[in-house]
Symmetry: C2
Subunit: 474 residues, 2 copies
């Protein structure tokens, strides 16, 4: 039963609901905002951000510290509704750095375990990944190093020749000789295919749901949504209660968050908010070292086009009998099969000319149809003429949170545990990153990843970073 | 002779002066702004930013490419009027990374040459640098490495014991035993002094003047001030003149700048704008990887305080018979002697709690008196009681442009030559960085620094970076 009392104090209407006091701020006579006043709730950990990295971290934290009060919050109204939902959600273990190989390979194996052993369908489909490469690209030093490191790490991959590709992908245009347009567009002719059979696609919403539901089963605190963090609560440690604290000569620590609905306290605040991290981290004087880039996806349905159905249904790459996730040699254009919809998602990892941003804004969530028409479509339809005339039936956009070396960050400093910088491949690393974050929280020197492999817990920190630079970013 | 013609077009008053057309924009009936229309001027190089790094770069570019048309611009009304003028302008070769050692040692030797051989007084005074260190700090691994690397590079330094320091600095409080305030403030007791005799202070305005005047002597183009760059002009290369260019499949290059007074074209645009770089670089898709922190200086005059005059005039450290630039063991507080004014500049390199910013704003140019009173003064007056009761007679603030490894950036990509990230020590590296930028422009593999030492021109780039992380930042 809700017991409600109403009193007026100054310009504010105070409501008491079952003894908890709410204040309704009144502006120009209209009620605009409700927030909790008076009490400062206290938790052991607050996890900010319920995207793929936040829910994975929350789950492993709670699993390994069952008695801790862990609150998961997000400013959207449900888990996984921000950049996670906007992802192409393709997963691969084919990275050039052994760090990313380890993070993804173990995470993908965990996803298989969830789907096959736990019976939670992630719509994980092993379509494989296919890089179409020119002669020049294939012989590039960085590609040699990439293949070398994959061999060393036991990552499965296969090389296809041009002739093999032409047979397996009859719709592929692998001959640009005399094509003035292709020359003008600097398109590189396909000479090789680099294929990884353990890669695939999944449904990111299902993955988030898995961690979120498992977390809720073992958590003592109900997650809260629609809660926006305004500031990290940086305080003197110990507090002297002097006006103007903290001063430079005091030790300092983050003791919680200031939200639009009041202050919440915690020993540790986890920040798993990707392209929004700078907004909270920079003001307290920690350089998160990430930047955001907008990424867009455009959906093409095969509909009544036989050529597109044929492309979707090419055989020989995988047991599904479908086209792999395919990366074109030029301009960063790629496509992902979407079998349930009988279609493709088209994306592009553009470099120079696509702005870096400090903090993701609303306009980064808006796809630009001209971008598909003028930039992606001409490339796509040149390599695969089946796409000629294809118009998107849907599109969306989101942000990548880039780290300088394209390897994620996980570090605990001044009471803040940061998990970000996955550089567009957070979903495929989500399991490993959650486990590493948890190991750091518990003060463990190593984190044990799925399957038993171990990684030093501070390897992904800023201060004790020990990683190879990642060169294979899509 | 000026030939002037006036016509009205719409709301704009068009003036022709000797055939060049100017437009006076009229808002609400008043003339507010004059800018050049119609013609796009073309240069070989435009150097944006006339701070210490910009003028040094402009000078070396012009010196080694005498026929090139090089335009130097700044948005303020004179050279060196922004962060350069706000600097403590202390110069040291005592860095922990061999890269910073080389950059500063050769630059400082060039400054000595300018002052002693060329006769241009920079007010360079070899006060020396004195780090006051606790037992724990002195024995820290990073300090051992620092000293080791200085020995290896031939950087002069000397260690003072506590007893020596107490004799040389009678005003130093080196005994906090039983001092509850000092304990509360986590102040570390002084046990050692690390002193560098080749370090000192100078007048940054004089240094900028040197490069600027030398540049003007050999340049064909008059520098322009009060000119604000709105955007870098990123264009397709080659241009196809399609609406919406550049597209992802086109090569791209920066071909100039768009300013508040029109577009200026150049083969290469030099960005030497420190804490404002992100504003121009990020929108074209280059992550400059720097962030800004506000830094403040407060001026204390000795006036009628004998203790402060005595501190200013301590003997034994240098030929000037003055106190060195001195860094306290705790809280990042330091002071610099200012002999002409008979006073001190007090600064602080605060870490956690002082915001990082994406782009420097006007509020970063405003010193906070409470910062001196509550944060710096308690520390300063505890180590040197002579400062008790001292109130600033002046203060100012500016920004440091931090790189992740605290080593500067110099790189040439897509037509943009970036010189920044000096992390608070740009003045003392200005000569070396200008020479490296020039070597990159001329496509040289190595840059020759003052005195003949060489450094690979791409060592300070993002892509081919080869540096040790700098740990000694003040």
């Amino acid at each position: 039963m809700i017991r409600l009392e109403v009193t007026w104090a100054a310009a504010n209407l105070i409501l008491s609901v079952n003894g908890k006091r709410f204040r309704w701020a009144c502006f120009s006579g209209s009620i605009t905002e409700a927030f909790i006043v008076s009490t400062e709730e206290t938790f052991d950990v607050i996890v900010v951000g319920a995207g793929c990295l936040g829910v994975s971290t929350a789950y492993y934290l709670q699993k390994n510290s069952p008695d801790k009060k862990i609150l998961l919050i997000d400013r959207t109204l449900a888990a996984g509704q921000s950049n996670t939902a906007m992802s192409a959600a393709a997963v691969r273990n084919m990275f050039a750095s052994s760090t990313n190989q380890l993070l993804t390979d173990t995470s993908i194996k965990y996803f298989e375990y969830v789907q096959n052993e736990l019976g939670h369908n992630l719509f994980f489909e092993k379509t494989g990944y296919l890089w179409l490469l020119s002669e020049e690209q294939f012989n590039h030093e960085s590609v040699k190093l990439w293949m070398e490191r994959m061999k060393k790490s036991g990552i499965n991959f296969k090389i296809y020749t041009k002739d093999e590709l032409k047979k397996m992908l009859p719709g592929l245009n692998a001959n640009f000789a005399g094509d003035e347009e292709a020359e003008l567009m600097h398109l590189q002719e396909v000479s090789y295919g680099l294929f990884g059979s353990d890669c695939g696609v999944l449904d990111p919403t299902r993955l988030v749901e898995h961690y979120f539901e498992e977390f809720k089963k073992i958590s003592h605190i109900k997650p809260r949504f629609g809660l926006e963090v305004k500031k990290l609560l940086l305080e003197a440690d110990p507090k002297l209660d002097l006006p103007g604290e903290p001063f430079v000569w005091q030790n300092k620590k983050v003791n919680g968050i200031i939200t639009d609905k009041g202050t919440l306290r915690a020993d540790v605040v986890v920040l798993a908010i990707g392209a929004w991290t700078n907004q909270l981290l920079d003001p307290i004087g920690i350089d998160g070292m990430t930047k955001m880039k907008k990424r867009q996806l455009f959906v093409i349905h095969a509909e009544d086009k036989k050529e597109l159905h044929d492309l979707l249904d090419v055989k020989g790459f995988n047991e599904l009998g479908c086209v792999p996730f395919t990366i074109l040699p030029s301009a960063g254009v790629y496509f992902r099969p979407q079998l349930q919809e009988r279609g493709f998602w088209i994306g592009c990892g553009d470099t120079i000319g696509r702005a870096y941003k400090y903090i993701q804004t609303d306009e980064d969530m808006v796809p630009e149809s001209a971008y598909y028409e003028n930039s992606m479509y001409p490339v796509l339809s040149k390599y695969f003429p089946a796409f000629q005339g294809a118009r998107p039936v849907n599109s969306w956009a989101g942000g990548y949170c880039y780290s300088p070396d394209r390897i994620p960050f996980v570090y605990l400093e001044y009471g803040v545990l940061v998990v970000n910088g996955a550089s567009g491949s957070g979903i495929m690393k989500a399991d490993a990153l959650g486990r590493i974050a948890d190991a750091l929280y518990r003060g463990e020197a190593e984190a044990e990843l799925y399957g038993g492999k171990k990684i030093p817990a501070k390897t992904l920190s800023i201060k004790d970073r020990n990683v190879e630079i990642e060169s294979v970013i899509i």
